[in-house]
Symmetry: C2
Subunit: 134 residues, 2 copies
DNA sequence: CTGAATCCAAATTGATACTG
DNA sequence: CAGTATCAATTTGGATTCAG
Protein backbone atom coordinates (compact mmCIF):
# COMPACT_ATOMS: atom_id res chain seq x y z
CA UNK A 1 0.00 0.00 0.00
CA UNK A 2 1.09 3.53 -0.76
CA UNK A 3 1.17 5.38 2.55
CA UNK A 4 1.07 8.81 0.93
CA UNK A 5 -2.10 8.27 -1.04
CA UNK A 6 -3.72 5.31 0.63
CA UNK A 7 -3.71 3.68 -2.77
CA UNK A 8 -3.57 -0.08 -2.96
CA UNK A 9 -2.08 -1.38 -6.16
CA UNK A 10 -4.68 -3.10 -8.24
CA UNK A 11 -7.51 -1.53 -6.30
CA UNK A 12 -7.63 1.70 -8.34
CA UNK A 13 -8.10 4.01 -5.38
CA UNK A 14 -7.71 7.72 -6.07
CA UNK A 15 -7.57 10.66 -3.68
CA UNK A 16 -9.62 13.62 -4.80
CA UNK A 17 -10.42 16.66 -2.65
CA UNK A 18 -9.03 14.69 0.27
CA UNK A 19 -11.55 11.92 -0.18
CA UNK A 20 -10.49 8.44 -1.26
CA UNK A 21 -12.38 7.31 -4.33
CA UNK A 22 -12.53 3.78 -5.60
CA UNK A 23 -12.16 4.30 -9.32
CA UNK A 24 -13.43 0.81 -10.04
CA UNK A 25 -16.74 1.81 -8.47
CA UNK A 26 -16.79 5.61 -8.54
CA UNK A 27 -20.30 7.11 -8.66
CA UNK A 28 -19.16 10.19 -10.56
CA UNK A 29 -17.39 8.16 -13.21
CA UNK A 30 -20.28 5.72 -13.36
CA UNK A 31 -22.64 8.58 -14.18
CA UNK A 32 -20.27 10.37 -16.52
CA UNK A 33 -19.48 7.22 -18.50
CA UNK A 34 -23.07 7.28 -19.68
CA UNK A 35 -24.06 10.92 -20.03
CA UNK A 36 -20.58 11.89 -21.20
CA UNK A 37 -21.18 10.12 -24.50
CA UNK A 38 -21.30 11.93 -27.78
CA UNK A 39 -25.08 12.21 -28.05
CA UNK A 40 -26.40 11.44 -24.58
CA UNK A 41 -26.69 14.86 -23.00
CA UNK A 42 -27.97 16.34 -26.24
CA UNK A 43 -30.68 13.67 -26.21
CA UNK A 44 -31.71 14.65 -22.68
CA UNK A 45 -31.85 18.31 -23.66
CA UNK A 46 -33.92 17.45 -26.72
CA UNK A 47 -36.52 15.79 -24.53
CA UNK A 48 -36.59 18.64 -22.01
CA UNK A 49 -39.69 20.23 -23.53
CA UNK A 50 -41.71 17.03 -23.73
CA UNK A 51 -41.86 13.47 -25.08
CA UNK A 52 -40.80 12.73 -28.63
CA UNK A 53 -41.06 9.77 -30.95
CA UNK A 54 -38.15 7.94 -32.49
CA UNK A 55 -38.67 9.50 -35.89
CA UNK A 56 -39.10 12.96 -34.36
CA UNK A 57 -35.76 12.67 -32.62
CA UNK A 58 -34.21 11.61 -35.88
CA UNK A 59 -35.49 14.71 -37.60
CA UNK A 60 -34.47 16.89 -34.66
CA UNK A 61 -30.90 15.58 -34.75
CA UNK A 62 -30.27 15.08 -38.44
CA UNK A 63 -26.65 14.03 -38.17
CA UNK A 64 -27.06 11.13 -35.76
CA UNK A 65 -27.02 7.68 -37.30
CA UNK A 66 -29.91 5.35 -36.68
CA UNK A 67 -27.56 3.02 -34.89
CA UNK A 68 -26.38 5.66 -32.43
CA UNK A 69 -29.88 7.01 -31.86
CA UNK A 70 -31.09 3.56 -30.89
CA UNK A 71 -28.08 2.88 -28.74
CA UNK A 72 -28.14 6.26 -26.99
CA UNK A 73 -31.84 5.93 -26.18
CA UNK A 74 -31.33 2.42 -24.86
CA UNK A 75 -28.37 3.46 -22.68
CA UNK A 76 -30.30 6.38 -21.22
CA UNK A 77 -33.34 4.23 -20.60
CA UNK A 78 -31.21 1.61 -18.90
CA UNK A 79 -29.87 4.16 -16.43
CA UNK A 80 -33.35 5.51 -15.75
CA UNK A 81 -33.10 8.92 -17.44
CA UNK A 82 -35.97 8.27 -19.81
CA UNK A 83 -38.93 6.01 -20.37
CA UNK A 84 -39.91 4.15 -23.52
CA UNK A 85 -43.58 3.68 -24.37
CA UNK A 86 -44.72 1.55 -27.28
CA UNK A 87 -48.09 2.35 -28.84
CA UNK A 88 -49.43 -0.74 -30.63
CA UNK A 89 -50.46 1.11 -33.77
CA UNK A 90 -49.78 -0.09 -37.28
CA UNK A 91 -47.01 0.63 -37.90
CA UNK A 92 -45.91 0.90 -34.28
CA UNK A 93 -44.87 4.20 -32.73
CA UNK A 94 -42.56 4.58 -29.76
CA UNK A 95 -42.44 7.57 -27.49
CA UNK A 96 -39.52 8.61 -25.32
CA UNK A 97 -39.91 10.88 -22.31
CA UNK A 98 -37.73 12.08 -19.46
CA UNK A 99 -38.31 10.43 -16.11
CA UNK A 100 -38.14 12.30 -12.81
CA UNK A 101 -34.50 11.33 -12.64
CA UNK A 102 -33.91 12.66 -16.14
CA UNK A 103 -35.64 15.94 -15.35
CA UNK A 104 -33.64 16.35 -12.14
CA UNK A 105 -30.48 15.94 -14.18
CA UNK A 106 -31.49 18.95 -16.26
CA UNK A 107 -30.44 21.16 -13.33
CA UNK A 108 -26.68 20.40 -13.37
CA UNK A 109 -26.79 19.91 -17.13
CA UNK A 110 -28.21 23.35 -17.81
CA UNK A 111 -25.66 24.90 -15.47
CA UNK A 112 -22.97 23.25 -17.54
CA UNK A 113 -24.57 24.51 -20.74
CA UNK A 114 -24.68 28.04 -19.37
CA UNK A 115 -21.05 27.87 -18.29
CA UNK A 116 -20.06 26.62 -21.73
CA UNK A 117 -21.85 29.46 -23.49
CA UNK A 118 -20.34 32.05 -21.16
CA UNK A 119 -16.78 30.76 -21.36
CA UNK A 120 -16.55 29.45 -24.87
CA UNK A 121 -14.81 32.55 -26.14
CA UNK A 122 -12.23 32.40 -23.37
CA UNK A 123 -11.53 28.77 -24.19
CA UNK A 124 -11.18 29.44 -27.88
CA UNK A 125 -8.83 32.30 -27.11
CA UNK A 126 -6.70 30.17 -24.79
CA UNK A 127 -6.56 27.45 -27.42
CA UNK A 128 -5.51 29.88 -30.15
CA UNK A 129 -2.74 31.30 -27.95
CA UNK A 130 -1.49 27.83 -27.06
CA UNK A 131 -1.41 26.78 -30.70
CA UNK A 132 0.29 30.02 -31.71
CA UNK A 133 3.25 29.27 -29.45
CA UNK A 134 3.59 25.73 -30.75
CA UNK B 1 -33.69 22.41 -46.18
CA UNK B 2 -35.89 20.68 -43.67
CA UNK B 3 -38.72 23.06 -42.85
CA UNK B 4 -39.64 21.30 -39.64
CA UNK B 5 -36.24 21.52 -38.05
CA UNK B 6 -34.51 24.25 -39.97
CA UNK B 7 -31.77 21.72 -40.60
CA UNK B 8 -29.72 22.06 -43.75
CA UNK B 9 -28.26 18.79 -44.91
CA UNK B 10 -24.53 18.80 -44.48
CA UNK B 11 -24.63 21.74 -42.11
CA UNK B 12 -25.25 19.68 -38.98
CA UNK B 13 -27.83 22.01 -37.48
CA UNK B 14 -29.76 20.66 -34.53
CA UNK B 15 -32.75 22.05 -32.70
CA UNK B 16 -32.50 21.85 -28.94
CA UNK B 17 -34.85 23.56 -26.51
CA UNK B 18 -36.21 25.48 -29.49
CA UNK B 19 -32.83 26.95 -30.27
CA UNK B 20 -30.99 26.02 -33.46
CA UNK B 21 -27.50 24.76 -32.71
CA UNK B 22 -24.76 24.37 -35.24
CA UNK B 23 -23.26 21.03 -34.24
CA UNK B 24 -20.13 21.70 -36.26
CA UNK B 25 -19.43 24.68 -34.02
CA UNK B 26 -21.44 24.06 -30.86
CA UNK B 27 -19.97 25.70 -27.74
CA UNK B 28 -21.39 23.05 -25.44
CA UNK B 29 -19.95 20.22 -27.49
CA UNK B 30 -16.69 22.03 -27.87
CA UNK B 31 -16.35 22.26 -24.11
CA UNK B 32 -17.60 18.75 -23.43
CA UNK B 33 -15.27 17.19 -25.97
CA UNK B 34 -12.40 18.18 -23.75
CA UNK B 35 -13.63 17.92 -20.17
CA UNK B 36 -15.75 14.86 -21.01
CA UNK B 37 -12.61 12.80 -21.43
CA UNK B 38 -11.83 9.89 -19.20
CA UNK B 39 -9.43 11.70 -16.86
CA UNK B 40 -9.99 15.40 -17.51
CA UNK B 41 -12.57 16.34 -14.92
CA UNK B 42 -10.86 14.17 -12.33
CA UNK B 43 -7.67 16.09 -13.02
CA UNK B 44 -9.44 19.41 -12.44
CA UNK B 45 -10.90 18.14 -9.17
CA UNK B 46 -7.48 16.91 -8.10
CA UNK B 47 -6.06 20.39 -8.51
CA UNK B 48 -8.96 22.07 -6.70
CA UNK B 49 -7.08 22.31 -3.39
CA UNK B 50 -3.91 23.76 -4.88
CA UNK B 51 -1.08 23.26 -7.38
CA UNK B 52 0.55 19.88 -7.77
CA UNK B 53 3.60 18.58 -9.53
CA UNK B 54 3.62 15.97 -12.25
CA UNK B 55 4.85 13.22 -9.95
CA UNK B 56 2.38 14.22 -7.25
CA UNK B 57 -0.50 13.84 -9.69
CA UNK B 58 0.85 10.45 -10.67
CA UNK B 59 0.84 9.28 -7.08
CA UNK B 60 -2.60 10.81 -6.53
CA UNK B 61 -4.07 8.96 -9.49
CA UNK B 62 -2.22 5.64 -9.45
CA UNK B 63 -4.07 4.03 -12.31
CA UNK B 64 -3.45 6.66 -14.95
CA UNK B 65 -0.70 5.90 -17.41
CA UNK B 66 2.11 8.37 -17.85
CA UNK B 67 1.00 8.88 -21.42
CA UNK B 68 -2.56 9.82 -20.49
CA UNK B 69 -1.41 12.03 -17.62
CA UNK B 70 0.79 14.01 -19.98
CA UNK B 71 -1.89 14.21 -22.63
CA UNK B 72 -4.68 15.17 -20.25
CA UNK B 73 -2.60 17.93 -18.70
CA UNK B 74 -1.65 19.26 -22.11
CA UNK B 75 -5.27 19.25 -23.32
CA UNK B 76 -6.47 21.07 -20.23
CA UNK B 77 -3.67 23.59 -20.47
CA UNK B 78 -4.47 24.20 -24.11
CA UNK B 79 -8.06 25.10 -23.33
CA UNK B 80 -6.97 27.36 -20.49
CA UNK B 81 -8.13 25.33 -17.47
CA UNK B 82 -4.68 25.08 -15.95
CA UNK B 83 -1.23 26.60 -16.07
CA UNK B 84 2.10 24.84 -16.34
CA UNK B 85 5.14 26.25 -14.57
CA UNK B 86 8.62 24.83 -15.02
CA UNK B 87 11.12 25.30 -12.20
CA UNK B 88 14.66 25.03 -13.58
CA UNK B 89 15.94 22.80 -10.81
CA UNK B 90 18.04 19.71 -11.30
CA UNK B 91 16.23 17.52 -12.07
CA UNK B 92 13.46 19.86 -13.31
CA UNK B 93 10.12 20.08 -11.55
CA UNK B 94 6.88 21.16 -13.17
CA UNK B 95 3.89 22.52 -11.32
CA UNK B 96 0.32 22.49 -12.55
CA UNK B 97 -2.33 24.83 -11.16
CA UNK B 98 -5.90 25.78 -11.98
CA UNK B 99 -6.40 29.09 -13.74
CA UNK B 100 -9.32 31.42 -13.01
CA UNK B 101 -11.16 29.67 -15.82
CA UNK B 102 -10.42 26.28 -14.29
CA UNK B 103 -11.59 27.41 -10.86
CA UNK B 104 -14.79 28.86 -12.30
CA UNK B 105 -15.48 25.50 -13.88
CA UNK B 106 -15.42 23.91 -10.44
CA UNK B 107 -18.88 25.38 -9.84
CA UNK B 108 -20.82 23.39 -12.47
CA UNK B 109 -18.47 20.44 -12.00
CA UNK B 110 -19.12 20.18 -8.30
CA UNK B 111 -22.85 20.43 -8.90
CA UNK B 112 -22.52 17.48 -11.24
CA UNK B 113 -20.48 15.57 -8.67
CA UNK B 114 -23.11 16.23 -6.01
CA UNK B 115 -25.89 15.10 -8.33
CA UNK B 116 -23.99 11.93 -9.13
CA UNK B 117 -23.48 11.07 -5.49
CA UNK B 118 -27.12 11.74 -4.67
CA UNK B 119 -28.58 9.78 -7.58
CA UNK B 120 -26.09 6.99 -8.01
CA UNK B 121 -28.23 4.51 -6.12
CA UNK B 122 -31.28 5.35 -8.24
CA UNK B 123 -29.25 4.84 -11.38
CA UNK B 124 -27.85 1.52 -10.22
CA UNK B 125 -31.33 0.42 -9.30
CA UNK B 126 -32.75 1.42 -12.69
CA UNK B 127 -29.92 -0.38 -14.40
CA UNK B 128 -30.45 -3.55 -12.38
CA UNK B 129 -34.17 -3.53 -13.18
CA UNK B 130 -33.51 -3.00 -16.87
CA UNK B 131 -31.03 -5.84 -16.97
CA UNK B 132 -33.35 -8.11 -15.03
CA UNK B 133 -36.02 -7.82 -17.71
CA UNK B 134 -33.52 -8.50 -20.50
C1' DC C 1 -42.01 3.01 -38.20
C1' DT C 2 -38.71 1.23 -35.14
C1' DG C 3 -35.50 -1.13 -34.67
C1' DA C 4 -31.53 -5.38 -34.86
C1' DA C 5 -27.34 -7.36 -37.07
C1' DT C 6 -23.18 -7.10 -39.43
C1' DC C 7 -19.01 -5.27 -41.26
C1' DC C 8 -15.52 -1.98 -41.25
C1' DA C 9 -12.88 2.51 -40.47
C1' DA C 10 -11.31 5.64 -37.06
C1' DA C 11 -10.35 7.30 -32.62
C1' DT C 12 -8.87 6.22 -27.68
C1' DT C 13 -6.19 4.14 -24.50
C1' DG C 14 -2.65 1.13 -22.42
C1' DA C 15 2.01 -1.01 -22.20
C1' DT C 16 6.60 -0.58 -22.93
C1' DA C 17 10.95 1.37 -23.84
C1' DC C 18 13.77 5.38 -24.25
C1' DT C 19 15.59 10.53 -23.28
C1' DG C 20 17.33 15.30 -21.48
C1' DC D 1 11.78 14.19 -12.72
C1' DA D 2 9.11 14.90 -16.56
C1' DG D 3 8.32 13.71 -20.32
C1' DT D 4 8.46 11.43 -25.83
C1' DA D 5 7.92 7.60 -29.16
C1' DT D 6 6.09 3.50 -30.74
C1' DC D 7 3.09 -0.33 -31.10
C1' DA D 8 -0.88 -3.18 -29.72
C1' DA D 9 -5.45 -3.66 -27.80
C1' DT D 10 -9.78 -1.82 -27.08
C1' DT D 11 -13.59 1.13 -27.97
C1' DT D 12 -16.37 3.83 -30.78
C1' DG D 13 -18.88 5.27 -34.66
C1' DG D 14 -20.76 5.11 -39.45
C1' DA D 15 -22.74 2.63 -43.43
C1' DT D 16 -25.42 -0.85 -44.92
C1' DT D 17 -28.68 -4.50 -44.93
C1' DC D 18 -32.52 -6.99 -43.05
C1' DA D 19 -36.94 -7.66 -40.11
C1' DG D 20 -41.31 -7.44 -37.16
Amino acid sequence: MNRATGAVKGKRVVMVCGVPMDMANCPVRDVMDNIGGKWNSLMILSLADGPLRFSELRRLIPDISQRMLTQTLRDLQRDGYLSRTVYPTQPPSVEYALTDLGRSFLVPLKLFVDWSLQNHDAIRKARAEYDAVA
